[in-house]
């Protein structure tokens, strides 16, 4: 599966707000921990290895092959 990079969620603003709220009042260290948990949960949900690999490359700022 190719990673979806076009808009794929209905309420982007709402999700973004909840993402920021998740970090409200947390130390930088704790935020990092929470982000990491989030990444792992999402990776497992995506499941598809190719999609995850693409996301990893994009996140690292690499150009698509």
């Amino acid at each position: 599966m190719k990673l979806i990079t076009s808009p794929n969620i209905a309420d982007a603003d709402g999700i973004y707000q909840r993402l920021i709220a998740l970090h409200h009042g947390r130390s930088e260290e704790d935020s990092m921990r929470v982000n990491t948990r989030l990444i792992l949960l999402l990776i497992n949900h995506i499941g598809d290895e190719q999609a995850v690999n693409e996301a990893i490359s994009h996140a690292g700022g690499e150009e698509e092959q």
């Binding site: 990092m32 921990r33 990491t36 948990r37 792992l40 949960l41 497992n44």
Partner: protein, 537 residues
């Protein structure tokens, strides 16, 4: 001259069992031999038995005139036990060893494991998932077996000090207390460990990575009611921020590995008065134990680029080195000799071209790479090298308590299992549709009950055509094993998808070479030739 004489080795290496230093061979100062093995470690000894059982005269050279003591390998995999069984010491090892199948992973001070695994998911096989046994006990058993074979000439206190690579042989210079001599070896197998003299003398590479961490290996004797399981802790209160591994050995000996970190005083940390507080913090202030052996290790992952250099063949730690998480060192070495023995046998008999040994290089390098990959990944999980890496590790452990998905990320060592060669050069690709069932070419045979015994007891000498019903032909050099009329074959049929008329061709190392729903003489003949190194095209 060698680094030290046998006498001086005693000052550096502790002795488990004395062997008599061997005299000069009758043919000294110049001798000819077909096979010379360097090294009396487990890998060299196992290689000698394999080739001896196949009928070859073997000279084994060892620089020590003793079996060393110390804390080295304890965990031996099912695949190694299958190999050892073929060499005549599997049952002894299992009887003497501590059998275990289950590993548990703990985090911090929690009493419940965050994760656990079973090393023998497929039951009803002769050998267990793992045994633990002190390396020197295993070496003793291999030596007992060698004593039963008339054609193995093992020379204690004979140190290889020079190697010259010829076109059709290798010249070996040997130093011993009784004098120096020279052997022209048709084949030289270097099982001389990670500091391989042979490798150095030939100026060969050994590239890899050092892990900046130290581990205290404490073998202690104590009576205990703990189960024989592998227990691993991340960040326990008794070794904060580090890992600990606890494992049972025979004779009430327990191995405890404490991760210590990089900047430590290596001399000081093995002193009993410094180990004692660690042990008491872990097992309770009143624990009653006796120290057996304490040592500190730093781990590396390395391998030679090639294991075959003309007439010189490398096997075991001389060829590859892994970190011990996963017990892939000696187990990986046994895989080498298992792969090499039958190939060299065919070459020596003139039944295969020396090119067949190129497939040893290909398959053993594949195995080494898989072992290095796994042990590197484990080491990176166990000892995170950056803050982010540590945060990921802890997030995995945290999530693992609650969510099953996260448990598959928990890596306290992926324990050694047989490596497969699905793209191996000796395989004949399937022409039938097996619907994902059975054991495919390039995979190790899966054991199953057969009559009163086990399938793997019946294969492992030469090529075997395992079939369900007489195929109506024979192929020279292939033994037929028709199970149709044997008892207790249901699991075997299921595991191999062996419907009536079907057949699986097994190599002498118990790997599947080819299989057919209905084999023909021509197909089996061709697959056999391919397995012996005739190029398939």
């Amino acid at each position: 001259m060698g680094e030290a004489s046998p006498v001086q080795w005693r000052e550096r290496v502790p002795v488990w069992r004395e062997r008599q230093a061997s005299p000069l061979p009758a043919s000294a100062p110049r001798e000819k031999a077909r096979i010379v093995i360097v090294g009396t470690g487990p890998v060299g000894l196992a290689q000698a038995i394999d080739l001896g059982q196949r009928g070859h005269d073997v000279v084994v050279l060892g620089r020590f005139d003793f079996v060393p003591l110390g804390s080295k390998a304890i965990c031996f995999s099912k695949r190694s036990l299958d190999i050892l069984d073929r060499l005549g010491v599997g049952e002894r090892a299992v009887e003497r060893g501590v059998i275990w199948n289950v590993g548990k992973v703990f985090w911090k001070d929690e009493r419940e494991p965050v994760y656990q695994f079973d090393m023998l998911p497929v039951k009803h096989q002769k050998m267990p998932g793992f045994i633990n046994i002190q390396q020197y006990y295993l070496e003793d058993m291999l030596l007992e077996r060698i004593a039963e074979l008339p054609n193995i000439d093992i020379r204690w206190g004979h140190d290889v000090t020079g190697v010259e690579l010829g076109n059709a042989d290798a010249g070996v210079a040997v130093a011993s207390a009784a004098g120096d001599y020279h052997i022209d070896a048709e084949w030289l197998i270097a099982c001389d460990g990670n500091k391989s003299t042979v490798r150095d003398l030939l100026g060969l590479d050994f590239e890899g990575r050092v892990f900046e961490d130290n581990f205290l290996i404490a073998d202690v004797k104590m009576k205990g009611e703990r189960p024989s399981e592998r227990w691993f802790w991340f960040d326990p209160p008794f070794n904060p921020g580090q890992s600990v591994l606890l494992h049972k050995q025979p004779d009430d000996v327990w191995r405890i590995d404490f991760q210590l970190g990089w900047n430590i005083d290596r001399e000081a940390c093995v002193r009993p008065e410094n180990v004692d507080p660690l042990i008491r913090a872990m097992l309770g202030p009143d624990v009653d134990y006796e120290p057996e052996w304490y040592s500190v290790y730093t781990f590396q992952c390395r391998r030679m680029e090639r294991f075959v250099h003309g007439r010189v063949l490398f096997a075991g730690d001389s060829a590859h080195l892994v970190s011990p998480f996963g017990a892939r060192g000696c187990n990986g070495g046994f895989a080498d000799i298992d792969n090499l023995g039958w190939k060299l046998d065919l070459v020596l008999r003139g039944e295969a071209n020396a090119d067949l040994l190129e497939s040893y290089n290909a398959e053993a390098v594949t195995t080494a790479d898989e072992n290095i990959l796994n042990s590197t990944r484990s080491t990176d999980f166990i000892t995170p090298k950056s803050k982010v890496s540590a945060i990921f590790r802890d997030a995995v452990l945290e999530l693992a308590r609650e969510f099953p998905f996260a448990r598959s990320f928990v890596n306290s060592g992926r324990l050694s299992t047989a490596v497969s060669y699905p793209a191996g050069p000796l395989n004949t690709p399937d022409c039938d549709d097996w619907k994902g069932k059975g054991v495919a070419p390039g995979f190790p045979a899966l054991d199953a009950p057969l009559g009163e015994g086990w399938l793997l007891e019946r294969v492992g000498k030469g090529f075997v055509l395992l079939c369900n019903g007489d195929p109506g032909f024979t192929v020279p050099g292939v033994e037929l094993l028709d199970i149709a009329d044997a008892g207790n074959i249901d699991l075997l049929i299921e595991r191999y998808g062996l419907s009536p008329g079907a057949a699986t061709l097994l190599r002498p190392d118990q790997y599947v070479a080819a299989r057919w729903k209905s084999p023909t003489e021509a197909a089996v003949t061709e697959a056999l030739a391919r397995s012996k190194g005739a190029s398939g095209s």
